[in-house]
Each structure stands twice: as C-alpha cells, then as structure tokens.
Amino acid sequence: MILTVALTLVIALMLMFCVLALMDQYRTLELVRERLGIKDQPSPVDRPATVPSLESLGLSHLLPRGAAKLVLFLTTNCGSCHSIAAELSKVAWGPLVVVVGSSNHGDFESWCTKVGLPPEMVHFDEDGMVSHAFLVSVSPSVFLLHDDQVVLAQTVPSFRHLRPLLDGSGIKSAISTLTASGSGDS
C-alpha cells in the first residue's frame, strides 16, 4: 500500500516536471520568434470611409443578430487562413460572417471540406465584390462593424487573435475605445 502511494506521488511529480518544462519550451519559442522579429501581432489595415450594407453585398442570409458584426476575410491559398478556418469549425461564431476569396468554386468547396467548414455557412466572394467594398488588401483580416460603421480593421495572424472578438470582450473594448476617442474629439 505504502509503496503504491509513494509510486503514485513520484509519477505525479514527474508529470509536474514535464508540464513545467514544456511550458518553458513554449516560452523559449516565443522568445526566439520575438528576437527573429517574426512574432505575430495584429496590425491595422485600411478601413473604408463608408461600407455598403451587408445585405446589399449578398450576405443577408449569413448576418447575425445585434448591432455589432464581424466580417472575416480569408482566402483559400493562405496558410494562416487555413488554420484559422480549421479552428473556427470547432467553436461558436457569435457575430461573425466569414467571406472566402478563391479563384474558382471548385477550389472553394474543396477548401471548405479540408478545413471542416460547411460551404453554406460562409460566403464565397467569387467576384471580389465584398473584398473590394472593404478595401481588403491582406488576408486574413477582420473588420468590426457597429451600427454600419467600421470600428476596427486589422489583420488576424492567428486564431488566438480572433478569440477575444468571438467571445465579445474584444468587441466591447474596441467600441468603448471608439466611444472614448469620439467623445474626446467632440
């Protein structure tokens, strides 16, 4: 009995050793990326002065309820878009509308199958009309609209940066920042 308990404790200690060592490995990797200048951070992108209504852009069937809407632009030929879409297939989207750019419908459908997104839940921007309306120059990028006004426009280097927007905390912070700067201007 005592031997079994002692062995269990030793295994638990080894488990803790592995977890802590692994966490340090992740930190080291972050440090390497920071030193090499490849640490990903969202960067702002050009935001259009006015955006046509999402209904007029053919997104009416995908529009979420509420005043705040997120429009995420992905393309089928970018690696980050692939990993973000794969993560999206596992979580609730909240106020998100996904727009995917691709050269043809066949590529779009096979990409959706690969990443696990149902094609009917995303918008295939075949003619680039939606991307053009938002002046999208880089993918993946996300635009936050509040009362048809673009509140936030930024790149999305990885799904980690999209998560706060999906759970609402990033949306609140972006809107409150805009409100504060707006009242400051006035």
Partner: protein
C-alpha cells in the same frame, strides 16, 4: 479545525513541491538568482529544490516530526535570508521561486513567510495535524495532478500557438 489544518498542510506542501519541481525543470533563472546572492550555484541549484520536494512531502506525510520542522523551518529561514539580502543590498533580484513560473522580485514576501510559517507550525503542533501518512500523500498527489491540469488548460493557447509557429517556421 482539523479540516482547515489539512487544507493548510496540502497548500503548504503543494507550494513547496511546485517550487522544487519548477526549479529543477527550469534551472536557468534560479541559477542566476543564486549567483546574484553569492551562494554556490551548482550545490544550491541541485540540493535546494530536492529539499523543497522532501519538505513538502513530509508536511503531509509526517507533519509533527522533528525532521519536518527542522527541514521546513530551515527552508523558510533560507528564503527569508534571500529576501532580506535583496532588501539590504537594495538590488532588484528575480525570485525564480517557482523556476520559470514566476518572475517576481525577491524581498518582503520571502521575509514575511517566516512569521507566517512559524504560526502554522506552532498550530500544527498544538492542535495536531489535519492529515498525515498515506492519506496526506494521497491528498498531495491529487493536488499536484489538479495543478498540472489547471496549468495545462491555462497554457493551451500558448501550446497551440507554439505548434502553429513551428509549422510556419518549418515551411
């Protein structure tokens, strides 16, 4: 009261064990702290974490023994000395108390441990321990597993990000 003392014992043991394992798993930062304090680096970086693990285990396995009191009391005195040294020298020294887990500074916190630990030790001897023996070791094991799970869940994003970064770097 026994339940409260049992919880205090498990918490104290978990802190000591986590500190010991943390220093063994990531010895880099702790070595720098020992060097700053002017203590023998090789000796301290190996023996202190092991003593912390042994003391943590003894706190739940044999809490009222003289060995436990001397060992844990000695460790707390050593921590207080380190904190006091940093305060006297007025130098910012990284604690590395939990290896890579903490980046706090050495100072008052380590000094304040001394009276807090003395009170806990006296209470344990006066009232009697909450847990001991096999039961204590099992509770400590459970606490370690829960801590590992919490740490793994809290750092899940970091793990996913690291995985993605490696894939990107590999092209």
């Amino acid at each position: 009261m026994t339940v409260v003392l049992g919880i205090v014992q498990v918490c104290a043991a978990l802190i000591l064990v986590t500190a010991g394992i943390g220093k063994l798993a990531v010895p880099r930062d702790f070595g720098a702290t020992v060097r700053d304090l002017g203590a023998p680096v090789r000796l301290v970086t190996l023996t202190l974490p092991l003593l912390e693990i042994v003391a943590g285990t003894l706190i739940v396995a044999d809490p009222t023994s003289v060995v436990t009191a001397v060992l844990s009391g000695g460790l707390v005195c050593a921590f207080a000395w380190a904190g006091g040294t940093a305060l006297v020298r007025r130098r910012l020294m990284v604690c590395s108390c939990f290896g890579g887990l903490s980046r706090g500074a050495l100072g008052w916190r380590q000094v304040a441990l001394l009276p807090a630990w003395s009170v806990a030790l006296t209470a344990m001897h006066a009232i009697g321990p909450g847990i001991r023996g096999v039961q204590g070791v099992l509770w400590l094991t459970l606490a370690i597993v829960v801590t590992c799970t919490v740490l793994a869940v809290r750092h899940r994003d970091m793990a996913l990000e690291a995985h993605r970064a490696i894939e990107e770097l590999a092209g």
